[in-house]
């Protein structure tokens, strides 16, 4: 039991480090190579936990090589368009101007039912409403509706829209986020002035945001009396 526990801690730390090394891409939408790596990693990590007869070092070496391959391949994909297409595939249009592109559907082995279902998931019930639909490399469908079917926007209606500032968190849970000061033209003096105005100390603030236009919004920390 102790051996398994120690092995678990080592593998957990290693896999966490490897996932961080592979980057954020791994956590979001998975590309085919990333899916393979993630599945392999979880399998390889579980084997020495289930069977303590298997040397841990074997799994560690395999995990390191898999991580290295994934990072190197993604670096190669960044450099080479051909490698990217080969390893990750490329987006393919499946609907153009309200009509399904049958050749692409055959290539992707998608039936018309699959396509209609994917459209319905996007709240589109008539294929004729679609200007362009693309199956992305990760298998997701993205689409653009015909102009007459798109939502009305202020720009379309020629209504002048007021500028909105971009909010920056300045205090999180009583802790000042100095690194965000530059994004919203904040200085120490301005921050102290905000605190004086609100009558609060930093430790009493749960969230304080300042937007790029200078609007301040804060939420006071709730006291847990229980």
């Amino acid at each position: 039991m102790t051996v398994t526990l120690i092995r678990l801690l080592i593998l957990y730390t290693l896999i966490l480090g490897c996932m961080r090394l592979m980057g954020r891409r791994q956590i979001g939408e998975l590309q085919p190579s990333e899916l393979v790596i993630t599945m392999l990693l979880s399998e390889i990590a579980s084997i020495p936990l289930e069977n303590t007869d298997i040397p841990l070092l074997n799994s560690i070496v395999v995990i390191l090589v898999l991580t290295a391959l994934e990072v190197l391949l993604s670096a190669l994909c960044l450099k080479s368009d051909r490698t990217r297409k080969l390893l990750q595939g490329s987006p393919m249009p499946v609907v153009w101007n309200g009509k399904p592109i049958q050749k692409t559907l055959k290539t992707l082995r998608l039936t018309i039912d699959d396509l209609l279902e994917a459209l319905r998931e996007k709240d589109v019930f008539r294929i004729t409403d679609v200007q362009l639909a693309i199956v992305e490399a990760n298998g997701k469908l993205t689409l653009q509706l015909k102009p007459q079917m798109q939502n009305t926007t202020a720009e379309l209606m020629k209504i002048p829209a007021p500028q909105q500032g971009i909010p920056c968190p300045i205090v999180y849970d009583g802790s000042i986020q100095k690194e965000n000061f530059a994004y919203c033209n904040m200085t120490d003096e301005k921050f102290q002035a905000i605190l004086r105005q609100s009558g609060l100390r930093t430790e009493e603030i749960f969230l304080l945001t300042v937007d790029t236009l200078g609007s301040v919004h804060y939420v006071r920390k709730e006291h847990d009396d229980a």
Binding site: D53, V61, L64, V65, L69, V71, A75
Partner: protein, 120 residues
């Protein structure tokens, strides 16, 4: 990205080094143990001396083999080697046990070689 790739290359290098070092270490240890067993079987070495030599070589190999090899593969070999001192009074049985241990050792050794048969 460059830093990440650099770390990755270092990790790859580490993994490759570990793999090569483990292979070389195991081959060296098995070779020394194999020689000791072969001396016990084929050379005219007194049983006491050959047995203590085998024991010494196995003690040296134990840690390395347990780090890099499947423990279940080693159990049979360890049992065979540990039974040798008890058979010292009977040279025939002792020799037979040494031959068996040698076969087991060669079997493990062969399974480590990066040959087509092992890979496939």
């Amino acid at each position: 990205m460059r830093k990440r790739v650099l770390i990755t290359v270092l990790l790859l290098f580490l993994a490759m080094t570990l793999s090569v070092v483990s292979f070389v270490l195991l081959q060296n240890r098995f070779s020394a143990l194999g020689d000791a067993l072969q001396n016990a079987v084929y050379a005219d070495v007194p049983i006491e001396r050959s047995c203590s030599e085998i024991e010494k070589q196995w003690d040296k190999s134990a840690v390395v083999t347990q780090i890099f090899l499947l423990h279940s593969d080693l159990t049979e070999l360890r049992t065979a080697l540990e039974s040798l001192p008890e058979l010292m009074d009977s040279p025939l049985l002792y020799r037979a046990a040494c031959i068996r241990a040698l076969h087991l050792l060669n079997g493990i050794r062969d399974s480590l070689a990066p040959t087509v048969e092992n890979i496939l």
